[in-house]
């Protein structure tokens, strides 16, 4: 079967030449702009999908105070989503709003990390995912407050205040649960082992990241690795949890190749916009 497309294409070489042209002739500024949009979608989609996952806990938390705290984090993240996706639409310049981007793209156009689309699991697994992401998100936003693009710096400033609190809280909880009972320790270790490979995608830089770093808009994620390790190692030590040895990274989310889970998140999230196109809510 692999040769079928060639056999079916009358002028494969001609087609290939044509296909290459768009990119080759695009001016550098456009490439930067595409990368910028891509970067903003990554920021917005991480916040949106993690916020969505967290909001699944609303009304089902293990204790009322935590139910409220988890909803708070979800609220912060959805708020940040509106800002990042709003800017993405503005930079893209095709008249798409934050809602258009959130509700009318299919999974392959989403740019979030695989980690944030993982199912919640138990409350401990949710907190472990939150901690691994918060530790990264915090460093990323802190760097973004010095972005060459003032709009990015402004959003980062606001989000950083919220995410500092998220990190403080998720770190505390990971420590408490790791150090709690034998059962909670085992659950947290399993959650860590399970999510470790997905967390590594955060530091996998690609061409977009390199372009953004060169433009001074965003830090190269690879540069956040060392401080992330420091935070994570310190917290895991207090939590008496063992850092997994594997350095394998599950990748693809940032480029739009997702796990099966994202499709279901979107099917649910986008239902009304898809079923009643053009309606105002």
């Amino acid at each position: 079967m692999p040769s079928l497309p060639d056999m079916m294409t009358p002028d494969a070489e001609g087609l290939a030449r044509q296909a290459g042209q768009g990119g080759a002739h695009a001016p550098a500024a456009d490439a930067d702009q595409d990368a910028f949009v891509e970067f903003l979608l990554r920021m917005g989609d991480n916040a949106l999908i993690l916020g969505h996952r967290n909001s699944e806990w609303c009304g089902h938390g293990p204790v009322l105070e935590e139910d409220i705290a988890m909803s708070n984090i979800a609220l912060d993240l959805i708020g940040q989503t509106a800002l990042w996706l709003g800017l993405a639409g503005e930079v893209e310049g095709k008249g798409r709003s934050a809602d258009d981007l959130a509700y009318l793209r299919d999974a392959w156009d989403f740019r979030n990390l695989l980690l944030v689309e993982r199912p919640n699991g138990d409350f401990g697994a949710t907190l472990m995912r939150q901690f691994l992401f918060d530790a990264f998100h915090f460093l990323q936003l802190r760097a973004l407050t010095g972005s060459a693009d003032p709009r990015v710096a402004e959003i980062a400033q606001k989000a950083l205040k919220e995410v500092s609190y998220h990190l403080e809280r998720s770190a505390e909880q990971v420590i408490a649960l790791g150090d709690g009972t034998a059962e909670s320790h085992a659950r947290m270790q399993a959650a860590l082992d399970d999510q470790w490979g997905y967390a590594q995608e955060m530091f996998a830089s690609d061409a977009t990241d390199v372009t953004m770093a060169a433009a001074g808009i965003a830090p190269d994620p690879a540069s956040l690795r060392k401080p992330w390790d420091d935070t994570v190692d310190a917290v895991l030590a207090q939590a008496t949890l063992k850092r997994p040895e594997s350095s394998f990274a599950h990748k693809g989310g940032k480029q739009g190749t997702h796990t099966e889970h994202l499709g279901y998140i979107l099917a649910e999230m986008q239902f009304l916009q898809r079923a009643y196109p053009g309606a105002s809510w």
């Binding site: 949106l48 969505h52 909001s55 699944e56 609303c58 009304g59 089902h60 938390g61 293990p62 204790v63 009322l64 105070e65 935590e66 139910d67 409220i68 909803s71 708070n72 979800a74 609220l75 959805i78 708020g79 989503t81 509106a82 996706l85 934050a98 809602d99 959130a102 509700y103 138990d122 409350f123 401990g124 420590i175 408490a176 649960l177 150090d179 709690g180 009972t181 059962e183 909670s184 659950r187 649910e268 999230m269 239902f271 009304l272 916009q273 009643y276 053009g278 309606a279 105002s280 809510w281």
Partner: protein, 327 residues
Amino acid sequence: MYAQLVKSEGKSQAELTPEDIAFQERIDRGEKIEPKEWMPEGYRKTLIRQIGQHAHSEIVGQLPEGNWITRAPTLERKQILLAKVQDEAGHGLYLYCAAETLGVSRDQLLEKLHSGEMKYSSIFNYPTLTWADMGAVGWLVDGAAIMNQVPLQRTSYGPYSRAMIRICKEESFHQRQGYAIMMKMATGTPEQKRMAQDALNRLWYPSLMMFGPSDKDSVHSVQSMAWKIKMNSNDELRQKFVDQTVPQAEYLGLTVPDPNLKWNEEKGGYDFSEPDWDEFYQVLKGNGPCNKERLGARVKAWEDGAWYRDAMVAHAKKKAARAVAAE
């Protein structure tokens, strides 16, 4: 209401002690009763039932609206709904704290909820089937709750009264956001209008039931009203609710599903049909459309969270022990 059919534990006139009489006089003078002060056992028990049931209603009440958080149609609607449902959890928290001042722990009350010994409001056993229900619940259910809770700000028990004051501030936001959703739907596409009307059709009578059965069938009202833990009669509040809500429905261009609804000039209020009280009692007995799901979700959250709560306690103990050892 959020507390329906609360059994009150009064005494007959002949059984009243001098303390009972002095206590009633304090209430009649409009004084607030505070936790450390003497109170009749019946007053305490009745309040625990009422505040407990109210608290349970807040947290079970998270579920019907929580049902649509992940499907909210815009980022803004998602934020508003999430904030609203989170507020309800906060209301539960205030009320459990108020109940604790009467000598009952949150865990004890939750145990009684989970075992079915304590109830929550009948309204939350109805399903939320379309997005318009998010509008109708805010508009009608929070609207009905406000009717009852505004007067309860003046209730005789200090902590309950203060909880109500905090809660009422947030409830009016809840009702407004609900009405705003209804407005969007009622002026939207034909499908949206249909959803809005359908939501009103399904939730109208269950909302009327929230006030509890007619006063003539409500045996516990007299004592509770004397103690100022019930401020108005059920029928009085229901009438007020109908009078307020009908013009709002008309403004939306929606039809209240009651062929007998008619303005009565003489009484200065609407005449309207009673809800089906057999259905009400069936729902209280556990036979409503969502009783099993609602209570089941609460029990599951509690049981699934046991290891988490145990771990938090264990860690706090270890931490305290380490602090002592370090001294």
